[in-house]
């Protein structure tokens, strides 16, 4: 154990033991013996102070003290040899060891010794042992000798040899090095790099860690395919194979352009991961992350109620056609969504209480006398909901222009955060995908969202006869904390009524 042999059985080293259940270092307070003193097994040779206690250390050998490796006042890691004993002093002069080597050089020699094969940690009986650190010879009370010994030890480590090093000008004791969590991916393996989504230590079982270490693979660069993002043995092999075959690691196009745009590193890593798995792992970030957070926050704070109404919008569709040729709308885009927006604004005007927000913190309902009309937009970056400010005050051409600008800006990916904040109500136009309707989730901070379904030619009873009519389904989700069923129903019924007979835009508007 600690009484291991050094170069041969004659000179034996006594290593700093862990005298207090899981300690990692101790300061040598006092040496009771000097070089040349005869010692016996069990004889106290020094006093050390740990975080818990000051204790005396008995030597485990008989012999003559050959070396004291550290000065008093030095803090030494558990497992570091502190004294060597010539267990056969009658065998002649100790030629192997330097007799008057400076303490710094001796320390340097010790520092450059390879670590025993215990996975980089000293084996101790309790706890995990002391991790090898760069602070090995840090003096708690800085002394010139100790400081130069630090410098020499560091120098020897840098040089990678054990020759005595000329004393370096005293430097401050090496500061403890704080481990830095890698946040940016390090392209250690031919550009194969993955930014750890969590920014933390990669997950892997100890045998896999050892494998990666043995193969020289940085676990942080390996794409995990195991459950819960755990790096598997196969992943390590795949990463190694990918690194040795650069073509295999070249970026492969992904299905989602949005991800490619946002995280090129992730794309490359996912491409490599596909070599061993038919799953693609896409880091959750950016718009996706924001969307997820918003949806979870909304769905689990606002009690949603969704109501549906199916309505004959034939007249609205005719009006859309007419408006397209109206001189006032020249150069502007006229579509059913525009009239749905106008219908919703009319409905809000008639039922202003729906245009409100729930203020949990202040326990107040905030009714807004302005309407910032949000339009859910599918963009290359994902779902965003920019809104048209002061929509209630806009004429139809102004609303059309604002809507057109909003959509264009969103498609170009230039929507600013200001464009997306402050919304009071939202329309989601799922109809463009051919869908009848849905149960939309509220944009956080708003109390109502209207889903506009596909307009389809359907058999409909019109003026007592079944006729093919343009029919759509509207759905309105509302926050039931502040919008009762009556209010929500009125809003939805008003929207439907306007779309059924757009004349009401004039009578109600």
């Amino acid at each position: 154990m600690t009484a291991s042999t050094a170069n041969d059985q004659r000179f034996r080293e006594f290593k700093m033991p862990d005298v207090g259940e899981g300690l990692t270092e101790a300061e040598i307070l006092k040496w009771y013996v000097a070089v040349g003193d005869t010692v016996a097994d069990g004889q106290v040779v020094c006093e050390v102070e740990t975080a818990k206690a000051a204790v005396e250390l008995p030597i485990p050998f008989d012999g003559v003290v050959h070396e004291l490796r550290f000065d008093e006042g030095t803090t030494v890691d558990v497992g570091t040899a502190i004294i060597s004993v010539d267990t056969n002093p009658g065998a002649g002069p100790a030629g192997a060891a330097p007799e008057a080597a400076p303490a710094a050089a001796r320390a340097a020699a010790t520092a450059a010794e390879p670590e025993p094969e215990t996975g980089g940690r000293q084996a101790v009986l309790v706890g995990y042992g002391a991790a090898p650190s760069s602070t090995k010879r840090r003096a708690r009370k800085p002394q010139p000798g100790a400081a130069s010994s630090v410098a020499a030890a560091v120098q020897a480590e840098l040089n990678g040899h054990t020759a005595p090093v000329a004393p370096v000008a005293p430097v401050a004791p090496a500061a403890p090095i704080t481990p830095v969590t890698p946040v940016a991916p390090e392209p250690a393996l031919g550009g194969l790099a993955l930014a750890s989504a969590s920014g933390g230590r990669p997950l892997a079982k100890p045998p896999v860690r050892k494998l990666a270490k043995d193969l020289g693979v940085d676990l942080a660069t390996v794409t995990p395919t195991g459950a819960d993002g755990v790096v598997t043995r196969e992943d390590v092999h795949a990463a190694l194979a990918a690194a040795s075959a650069p073509t295999a690691a070249s970026p492969a196009p992904l299905a989602s352009g949005a991800v490619a745009e946002a995280a090129p590193g992730a794309e490359a890593a996912s491409g490599a991961g596909a070599l061993v798995s038919r799953e693609t792992r896409i880091p959750v970030k950016g718009v996706r992350k924001a969307t997820a957070q918003a949806m979870v926050a909304s769905a689990f704070t606002a009690p949603h109620v969704t109501e549906f109404v199916t309505v004959d919008v034939t007249r609205t569709m005719k009006l859309v056609q007419k408006l397209k040729t109206d001189p006032d709308m020249a150069g502007l885009r006229v579509n059913p969504l525009l009239l749905v927006a106008k219908a919703l604004l009319v409905a809000i005007k008639r039922n202003p209480d729906v245009n409100a927000a729930w203020d949990e913190e202040n326990q107040e309902i905030v009714r807004k006398d302005y309407v910032n009309l949000g339009i859910a937009a599918a963009t290359p970056r994902g779902l965003i909901v920019p809104n048209i400010k002061e929509a209630q005050a806009k004429t139809l051409p102004e609303l059309s222009r604002a809507l057109g600008d909003l959509v264009a800006t969103a498609r170009e990916g230039r929507t600013s955060p200001a464009d997306m904040s402050g919304g009071t109500v939202t329309i989601t136009n799922v109809g463009v995908f051919g869908i009848d309707t849905g149960t939309p989730i509220l944009n956080p901070g708003e109390s109502a969202i209207l889903a506009f379904g596909a307009v389809k030619l359907q058999p409909w009873v019109h003026k007592g006869k079944v006729k093919p009519r343009q029919v759509t389904t509207l759905a309105l989700s509302f926050d039931h904390r502040l919008v009762d069923g009556e209010l929500g129903s009125k809003v939805l019924a008003d929207v439907a009524a306007v779309l059924e007979n757009p004349q009401r835009l004039i009578t109600w508007g």
């Binding site: 600690t2 259940e21 818990k52 206690a53 000051a54 309790v126 100890p206």
Partner: protein
């Protein structure tokens, strides 16, 4: 103070009154304690407890204490050399342990804490076996039933319940064996000990509760554990308690023998408070200079259990220089044997952790064993 057998048979009526009377008779502020050998090495008599030992028996007790102390010191040294993860020294408590340990019969059963190295010695447990656990190479290296010495219990006070349950079993078997449970002043505050007192009293279990009050529960002094002398706690449960000079091996032997005899003859449990002192640290991880004064230790050094018996042996001419010299040599040999044994203790096979769980095996343990074996094997299978 003590309670005689008459009082013990009628615990409800008699014991508290008699105990109270005895206590009042003691010097004010200092409860009486049974003593047969003074700190100055003078033999004294006690009305309730007496002992008559041959010179050989006295030398035997002395030898036990010296060897135990030497073994204990060697273990402390080994811990300081990094050979043991931890050691709990018994320094100062040799008389309490040897006296009580020698009072037991082979068929009695002992439930120790983790500090009963002297009792283990008396029971015939090889000292090196005690060290395996503190080195971390086994979970208690002896077969409890070989010496009727249960494994060391690290959890404070739980062995009092184990002992009580075992004693109830002894009673059901109709055997005339006794059971002795060791614990400390700190454990006296544990619920387990209170429960053990209750059950043992109600079931009249043949168990002796041997509390070594060494004055310190790690850094907590006894006055922070109790408002009354610990032995008086027994009254409330309905069985007698007695305080004995824990540094007087003769008194401890006499009192423990009497208590075990009570148990064997169906008179139920008894509490012995061995008033002693922990001369060293709680364990090797502890530094007592941080919480107690050197003066206190010096006070107790004058009451050293080995010294007073040595004085007595010398004065009465019961042992000669040859005996002491031979004992010294024997102690050195024991220390060397322990040292060599510890340093050459092999690390256990990893799979050993699955042994000694179920007498007849268990499907879940089998499954876990196989899983762990595969896991271990996964370290070795790579060759790149």
């Amino acid at each position: 103070m003590t309670v005689d057998s008459t009082a013990a048979r009628k615990p409800r009526r008699g014991s508290s009154k008699r105990a109270g009377a005895k206590t009042r008779a003691a010097a004010p502020g200092e409860p009486e304690l049974v003593q047969l050998l003074t700190p100055e090495g003078e033999r004294v008599e006690h009305p309730d407890y007496s002992i008559d030992l041959t010179a050989e028996e006295l030398r035997g007790l002395y030898r036990d204490m010296v060897l135990t102390r030497r073994f204990d010191a060697e273990a402390t040294t080994l811990q300081r050399q990094g050979e043991l993860g931890l050691w709990a020294s018994l320094l100062g408590q040799e008389a309490a342990q040897i006296g009580s340990g020698r009072a037991t019969r082979a068929d009695d059963y002992v439930f120790p804490t983790y500090r009963e190295h002297g009792v283990a010695w008396c029971r015939g447990v090889d000292p090196t076996n005690l060290l395996g656990m503190f080195r971390g190479v086994n979970h208690g290296g002896w077969d409890p039933n070989e010496n009727n010495f249960h494994l060391y219990t690290i959890v404070i006070g739980s062995q009092a319940l184990h002992a009580t349950g075992y004693a109830m079993g002894v009673a059901k078997d109709g055997a005339d064996s006794a059971v002795i449970a060791y614990f400390g002043d700190g454990a006296s505050s544990q619920g387990d000990v209170a429960e053990a007192f209750t059950f043992s009293a109600v079931y009249n279990a043949p168990v002796v509760f041997f509390c070594q009050n060494n004055q310190w529960a790690i850094s907590e002094p006894t006055e922070r554990q109790t408002r009354v002398p610990l032995y008086q706690r027994a009254q409330g449960y309905g069985f007698p308690g007695v305080r004995v000079d824990g540094n007087d091996v003769l008194a401890v032997l006499a009192v423990t023998k009497a208590a075990l005899e009570r148990a064997r003859t169906g008179q139920g449990p008894m509490l012995i408070e061995a008033f002693t002192y922990r001369m060293g640290a709680h364990t090797t991880s502890d530094d007592p200079t941080k919480y107690r004064r050197d003066e206190e230790r010096e006070l107790w050094e004058a009451k050293d259990p080995i010294l007073r018996l040595r004085t007595y042996l010398d004065r009465e001419g019961l042992a000669d220089e040859a005996f002491f010299a031979a004992l010294e040599t024997e102690a050195d040999a024991l220390a060397k044997r322990v040292r060599d044994a510890v340093r050459t203790m092999p690390d256990p096979d990893n799979m050993v952790i699955f042994e000694n769980i179920y007498a007849d095996g268990h499907a879940l343990v089998d499954e876990e064993r196989a899983q762990f074996a595969a896991y271990q094997a996964s370290f070795a299978e790579e060759s790149n």
